[in-house]
Structure formats: structure tokens, C-alpha cells
Amino acid sequence: MKILVPVKRVIDYNVKVRVKADQTGVDLANVKMALNPFCEIAVEEAVRLKEAGTASEVVVVSIGTTAVQEQLRTALALGADRALHIETDLTLDSLQVAKLLAKVVSEEQPGMVILGKQAIDSDNNQTGQMLAALTGMGQGTFASKVVVNDGKVQVTREIDGGLQTLELTLPAVVSTDLRLNEPRYASLPNIMKAKKKPLDVKAADSFGVSLESKVTLLKVTAPAVRQGGVKVESVAELVDKLKHEAKVI
């Protein structure tokens, strides 16, 4: 079984995000970029399935400028077999991304698509579900456990009240939550080897998909800053303040 893993290049999760003064977005100049953490978990899960003999090939795909090849190489160093870069300068919505990925799915015919539940920049949490809709596949979102067996996959999902397990007919789309696995670090030999693994480049406009977005970003602002209050000296003072000043108990 082939596994397709779509990945995204995002701001590194350790970087403090700063909103640009002209309110057009977040300042990404000279900022460290990385593989989206949820995508890293998706790559790790696919590689583990290959190591367990369940999967035969792991293909990673990313959409964006030439810069995304850096993250594709990272994924190759983590154990993916080959990469596809869909090149565009445009900032796409989840729907356009899902449409491009649906084309890749019809070309590659993977047995499973594993991807991060959301990217830590746009926080949309949409692409996996949209891809599943466009391809008619079943979906197992927010996965904390994935078990493949006999043409089916059992996905344990993190839901608000606890855990839910679903069984999906393959091919299916699985989106990863944080507790699915702990991604490995790429070793130096694997980083070297990754440089020689195949990486194809295709233009986004060669897929016959409309890349036009109907959603316009009007402005980006910094969130309201919450002011710290006072320190209290004792439990008695705290209870008194909550009762008589804040009036919340």
C-alpha cells in the first residue's frame, strides 16, 4: 500500500509571532520556518507503517514556492521515499489545496492519505476533510491511534468527551492529532541520503484546478493584551477579593 502524506511549510512553533505594522499579515521575513508539527507526526506515522510492512511506499507532497522543497527534504530524511513539489506563488485556501491534492490522489492512487489535522499558521483544520469529500473517501480526523487490517483502518479519534474509534474502508484519509506518535529526529546519514531521493516539481496551474480564492484577508491585528492584576498575600485575601471585588464566587 502506498501512503500519501501532504505537508506544509510554516513558521517554526518556537518563534514568537509578530503582526506587521501595516496589518497585512504576520512578519515572516528572516523568521525560522519548519515542517508543521502535525505534518511531522503524519510523516512519522506513514514511515512507521512502512517499517511495520503495512505500507510499501511513502510519498510526500507540498504546495508553495521553491522554499517548500526544504520541508520535503526534511520529510525524506525522516524516511519518506519520494517527494512531489506543486509549485505556486499564490497563497491558497484549504479548498484549493484539497482540489490539487485530489488530483494527486487520482494519479498516485494511494491506499491511505495521512496528514496533519491543522497547520499552526492558518489554524483552519479543513484540508483533510475537504480532500476526503472531493475523493469520496472516508475520514478519520484527530487520530491518536491508527491500526490497518485487511482493507480497513481503525482510527481512534480524540473527541471533546474522550476517545472515539471508527472503522474506515480503504482508501481513507486520516488526520493526525498530537498524541499519535513522537516523531524521530533525522540522523545525519539520513539527511545526506534524502538529498538523493527523487523530488518532482509540477506547476500548480498544470492540474486544471481553479486557484482563485473567494475569501479575502482584509487585515491582521495583534490580539488585545490582557493586563496582569495584583498579587495577593494569602488565601484569605484571595477569597475576599473574589467575593467582594470580582464578585465571581
Binding site: N124, G138, D160
Partner: protein, 308 residues
């Protein structure tokens, strides 16, 4: 404008998130229809009919909707949704699961996690884990939105809207419900509680979380945890408050032994009053707390329980 609101429920009763999404729907303005899709869900439907502002409740009562499987619910909502200008649901794990699927079937974008309505086509939502706030405008014919419940007040009840059964069975046949392990608790749900008390890594182990019980009982509070406490295995992940867990905005939030990592703050900084109890005076949680108490939680908690 015609708005379709997909109710969140457990077949027996409506979740309060639905009342909060209703507030967002009212802010958009227009005729509001609520869809209750489930199995033996008549009670939840009657409850939906009592929410003020609802003009009609549609009930799709069929075994294929029992577990809110995304494939089946999305096919139903996409079919009904064609006649509406807006489709809204709560940004819970249920809503986040099926609504993007609806948007794709309707070939429109989804606006996720809306925290404020500017106008019928312009919405405000957090990005970068709440470190930036985006204002976006949609020109799609149908606006598909998930709404962050913590950002809206619950709509009042007292209405008696008509309830209409619809006969629509969508079974994609590609997914099957196997099981669920829900955390059982007598306490209010984290996202609905008026008071939340959360423990962090400072609690040291899972057993010590019992120290929060007495206080939670006295305040009618829900008990939460930081990601550090969850990752350390002290408590289950459904107790997690933060960017990747539950987003809460109670009247009173008490953070115990929590340092205040950005990802935790993103989940609770909209609380009305924040109390921080931590022995480290330099902990970032104190920068957002209305009342900070620098002390050892193991002496403070029993004292606090006694004095409440």
C-alpha cells in the same frame, strides 16, 4: 438571509454550544433554521425549538446519523444547505469534523473558528494560535462557518418554533462506528462551566489532582489541566485546556501549578477573572492573572477549600 445552524447534541439533549452558535447566527441576522440530525433525537429537537430566534427546526432522525459520522452528516447538510446563505455549527470536534466536508461538497471555502461577526460576509477569527487576529471577507454564495462557542453568549430560551421531520437517509457506507470511551464525570463540561480550576505540572502526579475536587465541588467548577500535565500522564487528554485542547472562557479560571505557556494561555485568556497559584513568582501565568498568589499549592489548596 437564510441561515442553517447544525445543532450539537447527544441524541437526548442539546449541547450548550448550540445556544452559543445561535447568538452568532443572530448577529448575522436573517431567518434561522436549526437542523438536528441524529437517531431517536426528538428530545434534542424539542429543546432546539425553545431557543429564541429559531424560526424552524428540521429533524433528520435515522440510524445513519446516530454517531454523527462525517460522511453521512455532510451529505445531508450539503443537500439541505444549497438553499441557505450561511451554514453554521460549533467549532467542537464534531463540527470541525463534518463541516469542512460540507464546504467541499458545496464547492465553497470554510471560515474556521469565528470569534466575532463583522457583517453578513465579514468575520473575525484567530490565527497563529491566537497570536494574531484575522478579519476575512467571503464572496462565496454560501458562507460556511464554524463558530468558537467560548466567544459568544448563549441565546436565551422560551421560544416554541415548529419542528418538522425530514425524510433523508444518506449512508456513504465507507465508515462505521466501533466504540467510544467517554470520560464520566458529575461535574459540568469544561467548555460550559461557569468556573474552571486547572492543574499543571506543579501538581506532580495524577493523585494530587484530587486536591482540586473539594474546591471544584464547592464552586460547581469543571476541572481542567495544562498540556504539560496531560503529556506527563497525570490526567486524560480530554481535560486539556489550551490551543490544542479545549478553549474555555468561564467567569472564573483558577490556574494551579501552571506556568502559563503560550499554548495554555490561548485556551483560557478570555476568561473573565483569572487566578494563578504558583510558587514561582516569575511564572508567565502571573502576567495575565487578575489575582496571583505566590505560594506552594500543597498548602494553599486545602486552605482554599476550607475558606470557600
Amino acid at each position: 438571509m437564510a441561515i442553517l445552524l447544525i445543532a450539537e447534541h447527544n441524541n437526548q439533549s442539546l449541547k450548550t454550544e448550540t445556544h452559543k452558535v445561535m447568538q452568532a447566527a443572530t448577529a448575522i441576522g436573517g431567518d434561522i433554521t436549526v437542523l438536528v440530525a441524529g437517531c431517536n433525537c426528538a428530545a434534542a429537537a424539542s429543546e432546539a425549538a425553545t431557543i429564541n430566534g429559531v424560526s424552524k427546526v428540521l429533524v433528520a432522525d435515522n440510524v445513519v446519523y446516530e454517531h454523527q459520522l462525517a460522511e453521512n452528516i455532510a451529505a445531508l447538510v450539503a443537500e439541505l444547505g444549497k438553499d441557505f446563505s450561511h451554514i453554521l455549527t460549533a467549532a467542537t470536534t464534531t463540527g470541525k469534523n463534518f463541516l469542512p466536508r460540507v464546504a467541499a461538497l458545496l464547492d465553497v471555502a470554510q471560515i474556521s473558528d469565528v470569534i466575532a461577526i463583522e457583517s453578513a460576509d465579514t468575520f473575525i477569527r484567530p490565527i497563529y494560535a491566537g497570536n494574531a487576529i484575522a478579519t476575512v471577507q467571503s464572496t462565496d454564495a454560501i458562507k460556511v462557518l464554524t463558530v468558537r462557542p467560548a466567544a459568544f453568549r448563549a441565546a436565551e430560551t422560551g421560544n416554541s418554533a415548529p419542528v418538522e421531520a425530514i425524510d433523508a437517509k444518506h449512508d456513504a457506507g465507507v465508515s462505521r462506528y466501533v466504540s467510544e470511551e467517554l470520560t464520566k464525570s458529575e461535574r459540568p463540561e469544561l467548555t460550559a462551566a461557569r468556573v474552571v480550576i486547572s492543574g499543571g505540572r506543579g501538581m506532580q502526579n495524577g493523585e494530587n489532582f484530587a486536591l482540586l475536587n473539594g474546591i471544584a465541588d464547592k464552586l460547581g467548577a469543571a476541572i481542567g489541566a495544562s498540556r504539560a500535565a496531560v503529556d506527563a500522564g497525570f490526567v486524560p487528554n480530554d481535560m486539556q485546556v489550551g490551543q490544542t485542547g479545549k478553549i474555555v472562557a468561564p467567569e472564573l479560571y483558577i490556574a494551579v501549578g501552571i506556568s502559563g505557556a503560550i499554548q495554555h494561555l490561548a485556551g483560557m485568556k478570555d476568561s473573565k477573572i483569572i487566578v494563578a497559584i504558583n510558587k514561582d513568582a516569575e511564572a508567565p501565568i502571573f502576567q495575565v492573572a487578575d489575582y496571583g498568589l505566590v505560594a506552594d499549592l500543597f498548602t494553599v489548596l486545602p486552605e482554599l477549600e476550607q475558606q470557600l
